[in-house]
Assembly symmetry: C2
Homo-oligomer: 489 residues x 2
């Protein structure tokens, strides 16, 4: 039995996290523009208080004295102990300086990106990098300094293992992309897709996936995201353009994130374990719904007619097969967030490689644009015209968030592995998807991936469900099968 | 100069208050229904942390050591000291028990109201009352136990003074209401008023009053309210019915509250003084915009044609004068929140008298329904058919919020006093209102009422602006002049 005092402490940390989540969600969806300055203060205060509570001696003492009974309680104490120890390793002054530097870099980054002026952003990125080096030094037991950074997003995964996995992925993807580039181009959806009708269809889709009006919201935001305030208060956001259906796929993606949080075991509420276990596993859930469900042939057997009905002009006279091909167009492009299912991971691999070199000290920030452009040529075979469409495109480095990017590709890999495992358990999955039925998929994911929350480590989770570790083979097999078919190559 | 440590402490208290304000606003406007349970925990945690910080020894020591320079800093230290001392007088266990009892009473109150079953609510009200008695005992220096309760909402006002003022108000209002009741009834607006058009008009009105799209929001909520997250993040809520224009007046009311918060001196940000000074002064601002501006003849000279344009059926063939009379109908009714400008304060006086008796121990909770009904007969001359439309109608007692009700009538009184003082300074006010111009009114209120925030005590503020204390004479004079004119009596 855990003591009521320990339970109260963990509940308080959960609550502070939820309050911060609401402040963040509101800032991106509801807050009037002039509210930003005060909001920054409120968020900083809650972060400071959460850090104080997280590192408090009393919490450590309660964890020392805990006598957990059963697996769940053992996991609670283990994870809470790790969170506590990790937070205590970082001096408050360094944590605060990291926050300040990240905040200071926002405007220069935005200006640099808008004006294609890398030199403007460079000193801020150098400062962020230097602070990450000092952060890494607080954890002297890591094999590689980048391990320490990645551990905040994907606990347990090493740089060495990611290098290996990404190497295999790269080797498999590059020729596939080249073959597709040489094939006949896929048809294009003529458009337009009036936004009001997209919103209606998105809500219909979201509800079919598991969006529950009593426990979810959907709002507009400049950058789509999902936020969980509790398993019964899930907020996804969307953004639509008239020209294409990207907004619809973004909704499927965010609903995938939302379902993970929604289906965590309610018994984990207020334990700090009632949330997603890592960013990679989280991304596997969003990618699974967006790509493996939402871009599949059986999915469009059901939704194709509904799409045509709502957007007769938008779909035009494309055949069912051409509609599917248009939805699955593959093309090397400059911008990661717009990339397709096949090229996406190559954008991530580039960032991973550059980050590791910067952290190792083998790549100076001043040489980043050149290295970026060379990498894009190598990986995707395209020229980068300017840094705005190159190394300045992502916001992550302005926050100093190194070690985050790999989780996007890990998500793709893990999604494919989980999808195969699920397929073995649900032999009629394809038929269900073809009739718009997702209950069995949702239930399987709840039982095997969502319900455990943070009680099972990401690597252990994958091992338990798929019988192995992170492995790019299923993803490569799926992509090859699907796209060689679609492109007739 | 205040020390940076003290400033940081006060900033933190401001931030925690803002976070709580967002949690409350979101709960009433955005939160999916199933999110309520987790939200209760998050709010309780923030309340507990704010109470800890508010009562912290360190804060007391910093206030002891403070060397304030100038009036503002002196006010900051004086008010922060008072907040700190007051919070410390109440044992944490009692504060927590008050929270729990209040939370426990919500559902029984709602059920009791829905089923007209006072006996169900009675033990919860008794518990709330008993806890307020214990609370009062923590402040042994008050003249009257009810003073202590009122002090949380209207600092500095005594029960003796309110008794006197409400006595005068009652004496002036009862005959006016009786005369109106005997006069020819006012015409009725035929309606309906389609809600979408009301929303448009409400926003137009709000913007004319000072609602600024860059710093405000307007949303729907079951009970209209205003919430300030910072002077640059003001949120008002509205609710409309097709049958009448109450929703429009509620918007004017809430915008009045919002303007107060919006126009507080920005220099007071994060000092804990950058907000309204008392509920009575706050209510004076909402009532001023709703009644003294929004229900006035010159106001409708400008907005009448606009109303007719949007609602040709709703206004029907009422003449301008009949439209004004319909908007200013006076009638004794059962429900406070639906009451008109004249009878409203009588509803408040009833609650004040009953609360004082309950706190003094001269009225037992079990005898409340009978006393309520007798009071309604005395004050408004109407029969109360059941407790649902009687003593169970308001939510306040279920929260245990005794001492709050008087501020509603104090707001009416203060609004009239401030209105007279403003009139002397702005001789062409009526002409401006008649052309839809409110800039001079807004500016006068900023300078004399809003900007000081909590730096000037409510009684001192009234004294400074009007040259006297709380005085019902201006309100009675205004109501008599206006309504004897409208009703031809």
């Amino acid at each position: 039995m855990l003591s009521p005092e320990l339970e109260a402490r963990l509940g308080e940390l959960t609550d502070l996290h939820a309050a911060g989540a609401l402040l963040g969600w509101d800032q991106q969806t509801m807050m009037p523009p002039a509210g930003g300055e005060a909001r920054g203060n409120v968020m900083a205060t809650l972060t400071t208080i959460a850090h104080e509570r997280q590192t408090d001696d009393e919490l450590g003492a309660l964890l020392d004295a805990a006598e957990p009974a059963g697996e769940t309680e053992q996991a609670i104490v283990r994870v809470a102990r790790r969170d506590h120890d990790k937070a205590r390793r970082v001096p408050a002054e360094l944590a605060a300086e990291m926050e300040r530097a990240s905040s200071r870099a926002q405007e220069p980054w935005a200006t640099a990106r808008a004006t294609n002026d890398f030199a403007l952003f460079r000193p801020f990125l150098e400062a962020n990098l230097e602070l990450r080096r000092r952060y890494v030094e607080c954890f002297d037991d890591a094999e590689h300094p980048y391990d320490t950074l990645m551990d905040n997003f994907e606990p347990g995964l090493t740089t060495a293992r990611v290098r290996e996995v990404f190497g295999q992925l790269r080797e498999g993807l590059v020729p596939l992309v080249a073959d597709i580039a040489a094939a006949e181009p896929a048809p294009v959806l003529p458009g337009p897709f009036p936004i009001a009708a997209q919103q209606e269809l998105a809500l219909e889709l979201a509800r079919a996936f598991g969006f529950d009006d009593g426990a979810w919201r959907m709002d507009l935001a400049v950058h789509p995201f999902a936020q969980s305030l509790s398993p019964q208060d899930i907020r996804v956001t969307a953004r639509y353009k008239e020209e294409d259906l990207q907004g619809l796929f973004a909704v499927m993606h965010e609903v995938g994130h939302g379902l993970y949080e929604h289906q965590v075991d309610p018994a984990l509420a207020r334990t700090t374990l009632g949330t997603g276990v890592s960013l990679g596993i989280h991304e596997s859930q969003s990618r699974l719904w967006e790509n493996l469900v939402g871009r599949s042939e059986p999915f469009w057997r059901h939704w194709g007619p509904r799409l045509r009905e709502r957007f007769p002009d938008g779909v035009g006279d494309l055949s069912d097969r051409d509609l599917l091909r248009a939805i699955n167009v593959v093309e090397p492009t400059l911008i990661r967030v717009d990339a397709d299912e096949v090229t996406y991971s190559l954008h991530v691999i580039l960032r991973f490689e550059l980050e590791v070199q910067m952290v190792e000290g083998t790549l100076a920030v001043k040489d980043l644009p050149e290295a970026w452009n060379a990498g894009m040529e190598d990986l995707l075979g395209i020229d980068v015209p300017d840094d705005t469409h190159g190394c300045l495109q992502d916001i992550h480095w302005s926050f100093g968030e190194l070690g985050y990017f790999p989780t996007y590709a890990i998500g793709n890999i893990a999604a494919a592995q989980l999808w195969d495992a699920m397929g073995a358990a649900l032999p009629d999955r394809e038929a269900q998807v073809a009739t718009g039925e997702y209950g069995a998929i949702r239930d399987w994911l709840r039982e095997h991936v969502h319900a455990p929350g943070r009680t099972v480590e990401p690597t252990a989770l994958l091992e338990r469900v798929t019988g192995g570790g992170l492995d790019p083979a299923p993803l490569l097999a799926q992509l090859n099968a699907k796209y060689r078919g679609l492109y007739g190559i």
